[in-house]
């Protein structure tokens, strides 16, 4: 149907030839000569929820030792809406200790990643997850990924009803192939024929597809950065339906204006569940049929919608669902944050949101996060929820159990840790980057904490320490850390060097712009010193840093310099 599909990209060919995402994964995993898998299977691995990585810090030394790269795998769970039972947390804790680095990483898409899994540990890991009713199906690859949803049940009395959509969508859009069960769980192959998959067919989507559900007025999920955004419309504590927006996505490329970040465009509104689900499904089929399959850098739905035009895209969806979308309902976001500490929902259940720097759950000298969560999970009195800001909410705690949970949190220093983190630190996000991400150009999660420690005194210098400024860092322009819609965004260009972006709004509804490029730490701090000084002197009453810097941007008339190679 599309005229751009003349030259299929190599990944397209791999998918079609994969026999339902099976490829030669079994043989590659059994190959004892290497800890890696060949490229074709590595592409298919993503659909099973895993990325092949290697420790980039160790490449040179291992080459000298005549050892291959230190390959390992990252596995990402499918946790629609970011929810786990205490039993599932215990299982994850044990698996992480036994098979991976031990660190449990909460991602910006509300799920959990384990890193450093050696090839031979993959199968036992997936089997152990399976026993805990957890899987990693379709958490990477050209499919619908983990569906995210506004995290905190206090956000709305109908949170549970909205949250349930995450699971429904996830199930409805799951690939039909049994490959995962056969390869990892030893399910017997029933037929030689590859399963029919009316949604994905043999070619799957042209690129990854992300769906998010937001509940105004808190935009904690950054809903508009998703390929498909559902904005819940709640009136008088009743769910009326969803505004449907298409075409968000934050990845870009240094030096290529054809690759850009984009926020989703609102197309319309649907009221019933049936209609909403139908529209979601057909947005995927339109993208499946019209998306670019020759250039993966232009394959996301954001480019499809810009190429076709939002109207044409909407008409095609309407044609396929057989009804017209209603006009979008008005909505307003007025914040974008996690509710740290204790909160109570409308039913009287308690929630404690723990601050986790960059989502890393591990035991530090003074804060034993991992031990605390393990102890809490053992009580069986709290569920685990994860936020898109990489934090953890101990959830659904009955009033009578609150004390017990609090005692554990105190014992391991978790409450002090959460209370004492500065607003700017609590509002920060960094992607994984070095040493495992193959795309990283610069550090992110290993570096941002120390940079923030140097930014904090600057804020104090201008009396700005209580400002909730959102700072995000990514090690490359691919956007996992969502730096494009932060108030202060750092995008890595080379080791120790970052582009500095400012001007994004506090709510995540306006992207930031590049202010200075290729700064080292000293230059970053100098620029921020200047900006904070201006902010203190020239801000309007109640103006956020994002809005102020956007204004300043125009005033300074910063020249749009050519970007580095």
């Amino acid at each position: 149907m599309s005229d751009t599909n003349q030259n299929l990209s190599s990944v397209e060919r791999i998918k079609i030839a994969s026999n339902g995402l099976r490829g030669t994964i079994k043989e590659s995993v059994a190959d004892e000569l290497t800890g890696s898998i060949p490229e074709e299977d590595a592409n298919l691995f993503k659909f099973h929820g895993m990325y092949q990585q290697d420790d980039r810090d160790r490449r040179e030394e291992r080459a000298q030792k005549k050892l291959e790269r230190l390959y390992s795998f990252m596995i990402r769970l499918r946790l629609p809406g970011g929810f786990m039972t205490p039993e599932q947390w215990l299982a994850t804790h044990d698996i992480a200790g036994k098979n991976s680095t031990g660190v449990i990483k909460i991602t910006t898409r509300q799920t959990i990643q384990l890193h450093g899994l050696l090839k031979r540990k993959i199968k036992p890991t997936i089997q152990a997850f399976n026993l805990a009713k957890l899987d990693s199906i379709a958490t990477c690859g050209d499919v619908n990924r983990n569906v995210i949803c506004a995290a905190h049940p206090k956000l709305s009395p109908v949170h549970a009803q909205i949250f349930a959509y995450a699971d429904k969508i996830s199930e409805a859009l799951k690939p039909k192939t049994r490959a995962y069960y056969e390869i990892w769980l030893d399910e017997e192959k029933l037929s030689e024929k590859t399963e029919e998959d009316p949604l994905y067919q043999a070619r799957y989507l042209p690129r990854k597809f992300k769906i998010g559900i937001g509940i105004p007025p808190n935009n904690d999920v950054d809903v508009l950065i998703n390929d498909l955004a559902l904005i819940a419309i709640v009136e008088n504590d009743e769910l009326k339906g969803f505004n449907i927006a298409v075409g968000g996505g934050l990845s870009s490329t240094h030096g290529n204006p054809e690759h850009y970040s984009r926020l989703a465009t609102v197309l319309g509104f649907t009221d019933t569940e049936e209609k909403t689900m139908k529209v979601i499904y057909e947005v995927l089929t339109v993208q499946r049929d019209f998306g670019d399959r020759s250039d993966r850098k232009k394959a996301r739905v954001k480019y499809t919608i810009d190429r076709l035009g939002a109207d044409v895209f909407k008409k095609e969806v309407e044609k396929r669902v057989g009804f017209q979308l209603e006009e979008a309902r008005p909505f307003e976001f007025n914040d974008r944050k996690d509710l740290y500490g204790w909160e109570q929902n409308h039913e009287g259940l308690w929630y404690y949101t723990v601050f986790l720097e960059n989502g890393r759950v591990l035991d530090h000298e003074d804060v034993k996060l991992k031990t605390a969560f393990y102890e809490i999970a053992k009580t069986g009195k709290a569920n685990f929820r994860f936020t898109c800001n990489q934090n953890l909410i101990l959830s659904d705690i009955a009033d009578k159990d609150k004390k017990k949970i609090e005692t554990i949190l105190k014992k391991y220093g978790v409450i002090d840790h959460t209370n004492n983190a500065s607003p700017v630190r609590k509002n920060s996000i960094a992607c994984v980057a070095l040493n495992t991400c193959p795309l990283a150009l610069a550090e992110a999660q290993r570096y941002l904490p120390s940079l923030i420690s140097k930014i904090e005194p600057l804020l104090e210098k201008y009396g700005l320490q209580d400002e909730e400024i959102i700072i995000r860092m990514t090690g490359c322009p691919n956007g996992c850390g969502r730096s494009s819609n932060s108030e202060i965004g750092f995008i890595g260009t080379a080791l120790g060097h970052y582009n500095l972006h400012i001007g994004g709004d506090h709510l995540g509804l306006r992207l930031n712009r590049k202010f200075k490029e290729n700064l080292n730490e000293e230059a970053i701090l100098k620029e921020l010193d200047f900006l904070f000084g201006e902010f203190k002197d020239k801000r309007k009453a109640g103006e956020s840093f994002g809005d102020f810097s956007n204004r300043l941007f125009s005033e300074l008339a910063v020249q749009d310099e050519p970007i580095l190679q």
Partner: protein
């Protein structure tokens, strides 16, 4: 007849010797006199008279196959002159038969610190423990050894002495042979045959004939270290150094070993010099050569770990009771000081030279021209909770690029690649990989078309896969036809090469059936034993054989030179 000073020496010698030693001396001097008259033997063909002896036993205890090879050669020679020679592997020899033997020729090599080969251990213990008399026996001992070691041919000497003590009659004097043993051994056996064909039955004194040190002996190469890298990754329990040495004109074949004499640690040498208040530059004589005190302690004398016999000798020197133990010279000198530093010369007299260490060469002259590579595991052990390193492996591990190193090539003719079109199965876990890196590189470089199958194992895949990227390349290019890996500690149950071998049993047996040669390199115990058991099991299972038939099959492989071991 003797002047006073000589007489004094003789008297001293006689009074300080035990009876057994005097008997030996008596024989020794007689032998010397015989030697002075000239020992040239007439050509054997010239003495073709009717043999007076028609049956002999040629016993051998073999480690590398050299003793066995000589035994076969001797047996063939004996048959030519009409003597029926029975070959007996001491490993399988019925010890009770010893008393029935009339003509007994033993070929015994020496290993490590004066030890007999493992195959002769039972025999060795038997003749030392058993009080039985060997009145019928006439015997001759051929001792194989290496003059680089302190206890040259010790095991052979002891067999010779012990048989004599048990009442057996010496046919010919003990012959000690160095690493180039062939000519000396043949000449000696010709002497044996001459004795047998003209047997008079009279005892021959215990003359010891030692192969004269040849000027053409071992060629010492001066090499330069090109690279030294620990192949194990961080977090490994092991340290295995891959060392590349450049040496012009170095000649060797895959399967050979590199011999090197480690130097002693500098700080120990300095501590001894300080303790004894020695002049580091003063020259001393040790075994006919002159060295400065420093060089002697640094490069020549074993000082790190003295054997008990040296400790005992030291005890007599300082007239003290010293418990029989192994100890360093420095500690010994500290705890039981020498009376004065003038005694240093006497001390030198009882110390032994540092023994050379052999390392299987891991390079191929075809693939790595002008270079020799070795693969050395740094030997770590703890003494009273203190981490210690093996002298030589530590010496090598500390090599720096550009450093000069002296070494020699130790030929191992028992561990050679077969013809180019023959298949090989190589089993080499840990540093056992060394000769196989040489083999594969060699076959890769020469484009031989025989198939190559490697079994390798170690503790962990991630940290201990020695030569991983090279092996991957060989698999990629087809130079390595098959590979099986066993990483013992990567899962709960320990998996070793023998398990992988059994898992591929059918194919292993097929390869054997079609003429493949099996090579095993690495630790003797338990690895090589476990591997041999696995092979026996495979032959039983897949060859449909009984246990005894399987052992027979293995013995055939051995005698065809298709089952070769380089184990330590």
């Amino acid at each position: 007849m003797l002047d006073a000073s000589k007489m004094k020496l003789v008297e001293e010698l006689v009074t300080s010797s035990q009876t057994e030693e005097l008997i030996w001396l008596n024989g020794y001097i007689t032998g010397l006199l015989a030697g002075k008259k000239g020992l040239e033997q007439p050509a054997l063909a010239a003495v073709q008279s009717k043999p007076s002896v028609n049956k002999i036993t040629i016993a051998f205890g073999t480690e590398t196959g050299n003793s066995k090879k000589l035994a076969s050669l001797f047996a063939a020679k004996a048959k030519k002159v009409g003597i029926n020679a029975k070959m007996a592997d001491l490993n399988q020899y019925r010890l009770n038969d010893l008393q029935k033997e009339e003509y007994f020729i033993a070929i015994v090599s020496t290993h490590g610190d004066g030890e007999p080969p493992a195959a002769a251990k039972k025999f060795f213990d038997h003749i030392h423990a058993n009080g039985s008399k060997l009145e019928k026996m006439n015997y001759g001992v051929l001792a194989l050894g290496d003059t680089s070691y302190p206890l040259f041919c010790k095991a052979g000497e002891q067999v010779d002495l012990q048989l004599s003590k048990m009442g057996a009659q010496r046919l010919v004097p003990l012959q000690k042979c160095d690493t180039d043993f062939e000519a000396d051994a043949e000449a000696w056996f010709d002497g044996v045959l001459k004795q047998l064909t003209t047997a008079s039955g009279s005892a021959v004194p215990a003359v010891v004939t030692t192969a004269a040190k040849k000027s053409t002996g071992k060629k010492i190469y001066n090499g330069t270290v090109l690279a030294s890298v620990n192949l194990n990754d961080r977090g490994s329990n092991k340290e295995t150094f891959h060392i590349e040495i450049e040496a012009e004109g170095v000649e060797y074949l895959p399967g050979d070993a590199l011999g090197v004499v480690p130097g002693n640690p500098q700080h120990k040498v300095e501590a001894i010099i300080k303790l004894l208040e020695l002049d580091a530059d003063k020259k001393y004589t040790f075994r006919n050569d002159e060295y400065t005190a420093f060089d002697l302690l640094k490069k020549k004398l074993e000082i790190v770990y003295l054997p008990e016999r040296v400790v005992n000798a030291y005890a007599s020197l300082v007239s003290q009771d010293i418990p029989a133990t192994r100890i360093s010279l420095l500690d010994l000198l500290k705890i039981y000081p020498l009376k004065n530093s003038d005694h240093f010369e006497q001390l030198i007299g009882i110390l032994e030279p540092i023994a050379p260490r052999l390392y299987s060469i891991s390079s191929s002259p075809e693939a790595h021209s002008g270079e020799v590579h070795i693969t050395v595991a740094r030997d770590k052990f703890s003494v009273n909770d203190e981490l210690k390193y093996g002298l030589c492996s530590n010496f090598l591990a500390q090599f720096e690029v550009g450093q000069e190193v002296q070494f020699y090539i130790h030929k191992n003719s028992q561990f050679r690649l077969p013809a180019d079109d023959k298949d090989v199965i190589m089993i080499g876990p840990g540093t056992g990989i060394a000769p196989f890196r040489s083999f594969i590189a060699h076959r890769d470089a020469t484009g031989s078309n025989g198939k190559n199958w490697l079994f390798f194992g170690d503790q962990h895949f991630v940290t201990d896969f020695l030569y991983q990227t090279e092996i991957q390349n060989w698999v990629e290019t087809g130079s390595l036809s098959k590979i099986d890996l066993a990483f013992s500690r990567d899962q709960e149950e320990k998996i070793y090469v023998q398990h992988k071998l059994k898992k591929k049993g059918k194919e292993v047996f097929d390869w054997l059936q079609s003429g493949a040669t099996v090579y095993v390199c690495g630790t003797k115990e338990p690895m090589s034993i476990d591997v041999e058991n696995a092979l026996a099991e495979i032959i039983q299972t897949h060859g449909n054989k009984k246990e005894t038939e399987a052992l027979e099959f293995i013995n055939e492989l051995k005698s065809e030179g298709r089952y070769l071991k380089d184990v330590y």
